[in-house]
């Protein structure tokens, strides 16, 4: 007996689109603040730009280039005046990419 044929589920179809991620640590929560840390996940690979050669000078620059902010700096980590948590303000951004490499 042949297995019934079903259309591919939506998530399988959407797997043709990959999620690029951009972590930016910044001097303040201002979208225009200078970047002082950066990690990029591009087409499934972790890319670490050289210091001083960030792809963007600020979060706003990244937004202008098609990135969407999916997490703003977590204020819950900054309630203790006497303790500095990690690198401070961190933005996480995403940008979907199609199999052909272009924006989705």
């Amino acid at each position: 007996m042949l297995a019934p044929s079903f259309p591919a589920p939506a998530h399988a179809m959407s797997s043709k689109v990959r999620q690029d991620l951009l972590y930016l640590q910044t001097v303040s929560s201002n979208l225009n603040a200078p970047v002082h840390g950066c990690t990029l996940i591009e087409d499934g690979e972790i890319v670490e730009p050289d210091v001083g050669r960030w792809p963007y000078a600020s979060v706003l620059d990244a937004i202008r280039d098609g990135w969407s902010v999916i997490q703003f700096p977590n204020l819950a980590l900054m309630t203790d005046e006497t303790r500095t948590y990690a690198l401070g303000c961190e933005f996480i951004l995403e940008r979907p990419r199609t199999e052909t490499g272009g924006p989705a």
Binding site: Y23, H36, G37, E48, D50, V51, T84, A86, G88
Partner: protein, 278 residues
């Protein structure tokens, strides 16, 4: 090979300003302080004992004398940990075939976030470590940045990080809590990096080399040349708190706030809130 000794004393070699600088940055690099013949012998030992914990090397007189009790390195340890400090009883070797991607940023297991200094992590390069061999990368001042290692994995390039490119025979002394990682290597090779700890065995006191005219009220407690990743002037408070603890004066540490001590400024008179320590 001599009987194993646990504690050691020697003349301290750091001055007030050098101890203060260690408090700010969390590390001190001593380039090329171990003689070449000892570096070669250490490498031969690592070749013959390629495991991750070649602790038996600590029983070798030549290694004890020239590396563990190296006058410059042990003198710096003596300044930071006080008299009769505890000697290493465990040796690790981060022996890595290169090229390799960068390691995750981390604080070593056992690290405790605090404003005291009861142990030091020390690294020894028996051979030169060039930029393409993936030298240890340190983040100056990060011993004051609280974070769990398991939540640092997504950090990559960080402005102000320092790559410990150094000649053979270099020793670098670190605050155990400092953020660090093996940086990316691009050249084929084999990198040995020996790592060990010293421990405090006496109460803190200012018994290192005193500088004439060193003034606790006007000393510069700020971290220069690198982002602090902290609120403005918080680096000064952090450094001052650790420095006063090392001086045995922790009960005198108090920050009034505003433009008072230990914030750096060109004032017309002594800053408000400065501790009275001679």
């Amino acid at each position: 090979m001599t009987a194993f000794e646990r504690y050691y004393d020697c003349p301290p070699t750091l001055t007030d300003s050098q101890v203060l600088e260690f408090c700010k940055t969390g590390f001190l690099l001593l380039p090329g302080v171990v003689p070449d013949d000892v570096n070669r012998r250490s490498l031969e030992y690592c070749e013959a004992h390629p495991g991750g914990e070649p602790s038996e090397i600590l029983k070798e007189d030549w290694f004890q004398h020239h590396v563990i009790r190296n006058p410059q390195a042990a003198g710096a340890v003596r300044a930071l940990l006080g008299k009769n400090f505890g000697l290493p009883i465990l040796m690790s070797n981060h022996r890595v075939k290169t090229p390799q991607p960068a390691q995750n940023w981390h604080r070593d297991g056992g690290s405790q976030f605090s404003y005291d200094l009861r142990y030091l992590q020390v690294f020894y390069y028996p051979e030169a470590c060039t930029a393409d061999l993936g030298p240890t990368e340190l983040l100056p001042g990060s011993h004051f940045l609280f974070a769990h290692s398991t939540h640092m994995g997504h950090y990559g390039a960080i402005r102000g990080s320092y790559r410990a490119v150094a000649p053979a025979g270099s020793i670098f002394i670190t605050n155990y809590a400092i953020w660090h990682r093996r940086s990316k290597s691009t050249a084929p090779g084999l990198r040995n990096l020996l790592k060990y700890n010293y421990f405090r065995h006496s109460a803190p006191e200012r018994d290192w080399i005193r500088e004439p005219g060193f003034d606790f009220a006007t000393a510069d407690y700020s971290l220069h040349g690198t982002p602090t990743f902290r609120q403005q002037f918080r680096d000064c408070n952090d450094t001052a708190q650790l420095f006063l603890w090392l001086c045995g004066e922790s009960e005198r540490f108090h920050v009034v706030g505003g433009q008072s001590w230990p914030i750096p400024a060109q004032r017309l008179d002594m800053p408000y809130g400065a501790p009275s320590i001679k």
